[in-house]
């Protein structure tokens, strides 16, 4: 058992439901007790969905506990089949069904005898995987199911399109800025002469999955979901894939270079000559994206050497780390992710870019680390935003888990060239707001604040501050105040001083200044 107040990634079934409800005309039936259909609320409120979320619960009550589900699940499947005629019904296990150890496969086998819809059980182990892993797995499972079946029925279309085309894999509901990213992603290859064959699972219809192999290659924009599908397509159907996230200028350039490499293999077959991707990238980088110019501008110069802490899912945290360090010259003191299952790769990505890497699912650990480092800005999830609020450090939200305000109506991609503009704004505004606040402090704006110990854990140190010394930090600009105070206390402790006077403060300052 684990004491927990908060979690970054949700339980497994959420991932399955996100994938299922993203595709058109797919219905998910959860084998769960009353109240577990909370997913519908999330989707309906956060995404402001206009349509009913295609998820129902086959309610497990006390009778189910006593006698097993028996006909209940099967009846529910048949009922949905009749009422809404979905193409596919995904039977979704929850923690309850995993503890009850009911044979979902058996229910599925029996239900599919009578139902028009296809029925599959989501093959997800509740206790071993989280939301993201489950989504990855479920997506692969659905794609595999339909592609293999099409192959068996010889309806699978394996002739590649005349013009180069790509599939985009891993855009789905409740994903962080996924809708906007998708639009940007369609534009990105489009401008370089690549058509989009299909986007899965968002808005895709299962009927067309047989045309999936027609694309020249697959792209997987986010590491968390889609890689399994891409790997499967490569292995079984020989489709190459690009797993670079086009976030930030250099990553986007890499992404397009990869496309160029894949496409130009077939250059002899193309009507036009080799596509010159270098020219495109150059043009975009210099003139479409403002980010390259921004990092040269005087604004960005002011950010040089500022410290930041980053935390989020593996894709966003790693990409933002790279952007901050390589494209803006900001020092990243700490970069971290809650995607423990992807830790190795994450470490590799941020290697040499930051002072410290944390891989944890525990938000207090993240909070304490940030409090210790005291960066000028944080880039993280909603949780880090709240940590920032508490210790008075600005925070830009770069990754789920998020609230409704991170499902903006306006166009806010994180990927592609427009994405680089958005990210530059986000980063600059976070730091800028902080600076503004501090200049107010420097010029004696609102200087009546109490000195805060910028720590989340409340360990009271037994060190006294004399009244004069206590008021002294108020004269120091706010953004270094906490640090000064802490350094002084550390110095006092180290020298066995129990009372801090002004002299001690300045002695400490001398010691700590470089």
């Amino acid at each position: 058992m684990k004491l927990a107040y908060w979690m970054y990634a949700g339980p497994a079934h959420i991932g399955t439901l996100r994938v299922a409800s993203s595709s058109r005309n797919v219905h998910a039936i959860m084998h769960a007790p009353l109240g577990d259909d909370y997913f519908n609320v999330m989707r309906s409120t956060s995404e402001r969905e206009r349509d009913f979320t295609p998820v129902t619960a086959s309610v497990a009550d006390r009778h189910v506990l006593a006698r097993g589900s028996q006909e209940k699940v099967i009846n529910n499947i048949s009922r949905k089949d009749e009422e809404q005629h979905p193409d596919l019904i995904v039977l979704t296990p929850t923690c309850t069904s995993s503890i009850l150890q009911e044979d979902l496969q058996n229910f599925v086998d029996r239900a599919s005898l009578s139902s028009e819809s296809d029925v599959i059980p989501a093959d997800v182990n509740y206790h071993r995987v989280n939301e993201l892993q489950a989504a990855d797995r479920t997506l692969e499972q659905i794609i595999r199911f339909y592609m293999d079946r099409a192959r068996k029925r010889s309806t699978l279309d394996r002739s590649v399109t005349d013009a180069p085309s790509a599939n985009i894999i891993g855009i789905f509901t409740l994903g962080f800025h996924n809708q906007h990213d998708c639009r940007e992603l369609k534009r990105l290859p489009g401008e370089s002469g690549i058509a989009v064959n299909q986007v899965i699972p968002e808005g895709g219809s299962l009927k067309y999955l047989k045309d999936l192999p027609r694309a020249w290659f697959n792209t997987v924009p986010y590491r968390e979901v889609g890689l399994m599908t891409a790997a499967f397509s490569e292995k079984e159907y020989g489709m190459p894939y690009i797993s670079i996230t086009p976030m930030g200028i250099s990553n986007t350039a890499d992404f397009i270079a990869q496309i160029g490499k894949l496409v130009n293999v077939w250059a002899f077959a193309l009507p036009e000559k080799r596509l010159n991707y270098k020219l495109y990238v150059d043009n975009q980088t210099k003139f479409v994206s403002q980010a390259a110019w921004f990092s040269k501008s005087i604004d960005c110069q002011n950010l040089a050497g500022k410290e930041a802490a980053i935390f989020g899912d593996a894709t966003h945290a790693a990409s933002i780390t790279k952007i901050l360090v390589k494209e803006m010259g900001i020092r990243v003191s700490c970069s971290g992710t809650y995607c423990k299952h992807d830790a190795e790769r994450f470490n590799e990505q941020v290697q040499g870019l930051c002072d410290e890497v944390i891989v944890t699912e525990n938000h207090t650990e993240v909070g304490d680390t940030i409090a210790r480092i005291e960066p000028s800005a944080i880039f993280g999830t909603q949780m880090e935003r709240h940590i920032g609020k508490r210790i008075d450090i600005p925070c830009g939200v770069i990754s789920s888990p998020v609230h409704i305000q991170n499902f903006p109506l306006g166009y806010r991609p994180f990927l592609g060239y427009e994405g680089t503009n958005q990210i530059a704004d986000l980063i600059y505004n976070s730091f800028n707001l902080g600076m503004e606040d501090h200049s107010l402090d420097v010029f004696g704006g609102h200087d009546t604040k109490e000195v805060s110990t910028k720590s989340l854990s409340t360990d009271r140190r037994d060190i006294n501050w004399t009244p004069e010394a206590e008021s002294e930090p108020n004269r120091i600009p706010g953004f270094v105040r906490g640090k000064t105070k802490k350094n002084t206390e550390v110095f006092a402790k180290g020298n066995n001083i129990s009372e801090i006077t002004i002299d001690v403060m300045y002695a400490a300052k001398e010691k700590s200044s470089p």
Binding site: Y5, T45, R50
Partner: protein, 463 residues
């Protein structure tokens, strides 16, 4: 207690959307200031809580999950040892006066013996541990509070109006003093202001004191609340104590109070709306043999103050999908306001505990010449939506999962959870309740979008 025959009553499949009953910790931890709620269950529960409670989770709440892992499920780990470790940490970090364990469906299915472990750990830790089984197998949403209060009932000190110097534990000393001071004026037969009335149901403290005031105006003083503001101030219970519920979902607590603590239940309609509040007080007065004074004028006055809202809703129709058990009282209030109620969905209908409320509903329908609404226990949301497409109600009171899709289909909605969290009890708050009900209807008339923006759903509605 009598049960009432309702001609328009039916029961559906139970495929409906509601909150998990563990959500009761959200308001109970705020109500009981010195408590700590520990939800024992899997990630699903934790995820629900953190999403449902939104911003509250960042405010260092006094609740947490004891998240069971694979080792717990397969009994490789010892439940008692695990809980001991976690509760010790909670004690060190927060030092609460009581830890309330919320059992979930996981503990239910793997048959974790929370009730057995609690007394042992209680002795070891020196902190009372109350076990409430609020799981989605048996309960819906607000019934979570019911299980928690029923469990707390056993911890209330014993009421004994004859003995003045009773031996009691430290924690309840000042309550004993209270009871004693009441005792001085109390003799057998309880006349006015000598009654011992304990109200049960968690209300925000301002609403609770409004209710106290309301009954004191009739010379009936409330001697305590279950739950109290602090765990250490729980009211004394026992023979001779009258209890009355303020919420319609507290049937288990009512039963426990009657059977286990020998209290006498005052079966009354619930103090929601001016009509409900009046009927509620009248019933209490009747029990204590007090002649109610000025109630009718007071009710009329309140109705008069509501006239601007009543103008908006009179004649409009409501469809309540049902998820929090406040539905009957709310429907009764809205019918009295002049609305037509098509259907009242309700997760669970205790016809004994709600008898007085149902009777009042019937009377209200007769009085207002409105049809008795169809009452659907364990509704089926899918069928309800189909019925709604036929009936086209002016307002649907519904859960958050259905609100946006219904709005996109031109049915104005009001989130039902808001009625759980808003202050709707007592005459004073009738305005707040109507504020909620009228909000979607007011918005519509103000809307700049004309008829062009009517149906905004792309999905075809195949009815």
């Amino acid at each position: 207690m009598k049960t009432l025959e309702i001609p328009t009553f039916e029961c559906e499949t139970g495929n409906y959307h509601t909150f998990c009953p563990i959500s009761c910790v959200a308001w109970l931890y705020q109500k009981i200031e010195d408590s700590f709620f520990l939800v024992v269950g899997t990630k699903t529960r934790g995820y629900f809580l953190q999403n449902a409670l939104g911003v509250m989770i960042f405010a260092e709440p006094r609740y947490a999950m004891a998240e069971s892992e694979e080792g717990d499920i397969s009994a490789q780990l010892n439940d008692q040892k695990e809980l001991e470790r976690i509760c010790l940490r909670v004690k060190d970090d927060r030092n609460p006066s009581v830890i309330i364990w919320i059992g979930t469906r996981t503990t239910e299915i793997i048959k974790m013996d929370l009730e057995g472990i609690a007394p042992k750990l209680e002795k070891q830790l020196g902190i009372p541990i109350v076990v409430a089984r609020a799981n989605g197998l048996d309960h819906a949403f607000t019934q979570g509070e019911d299980t928690a209060l029923a469990a707390t009932t056993h911890r209330c000190p014993e009421y004994n109006h004859r003995t003045t110097n009773q031996q009691k534990g430290d924690v309840v000393k000042h309550i004993v003093v209270d009871v004693v001071s009441d005792d001085k004026s109390l003799d057998e037969g309880g006349k006015s202001n000598r009654c011992n009335l304990v109200l049960f149901g968690s209300l925000p403290s301002s609403v609770a004191s409004q209710s106290n005031l309301e009954s004191r105006r009739q010379s009936v003083s409330v001697s305590g609340w279950l739950p109290s503001q602090r765990y250490t101030e729980l009211p004394a219970l026992g023979e001779g104590v009258y209890v009355c519920g303020v919420n319609p979902f507290l049937s288990r607590t009512a039963t426990t109070l009657m059977r286990r603590r020998k209290c006498q239940l005052v079966g009354a309609p619930f103090p929601i709306g001016p009509d409900g509040t009046r009927a509620w007080i009248e019933k209490i007065c009747l029990v204590f043999d007090v002649k109610p004074d000025g109630l009718e004028e007071r009710e009329n006055q309140i109705w008069k103050n509501l006239s601007d809202y009543l103008d908006i809703i009179t004649g409009k129709s409501v469809f309540s999908m049902g998820d929090n058990l406040l539905e009957i009282s709310l429907a009764r209030f809205l019918i009295r306001c002049g609305m037509v109620v098509y259907e009242v969905g309700i997760p669970y209908m205790d016809r004994r505990y709600q008898a007085a409320e149902l009777l009042l509903l019937q009377h209200t329908c007769e009085k207002m010449k409105k049809p008795m609404p169809r009452i659907v226990e364990k509704p089926d949301n899918y069928s309800q939506v189909q019925r709604m497409h036929e009936l086209q109600p002016d307002l649907a009171i519904t859960g958050m999962a259905h609100a946006n899709p219904l709005e996109a289909r031109d049915i104005d909605t009001k989130w039902s959870v808001e009625f759980t969290f808003a202050q709707i009890h007592g005459s004073v708050n009738a305005r707040d309740a109507l504020e909620l009900v009228t909000r979607p209807l007011r918005r519509k008339s103000d809307s700049v979008l004309g008829l062009d923006c009517r149906s905004l759903s792309r999905q075809t509605v195949d009815v």
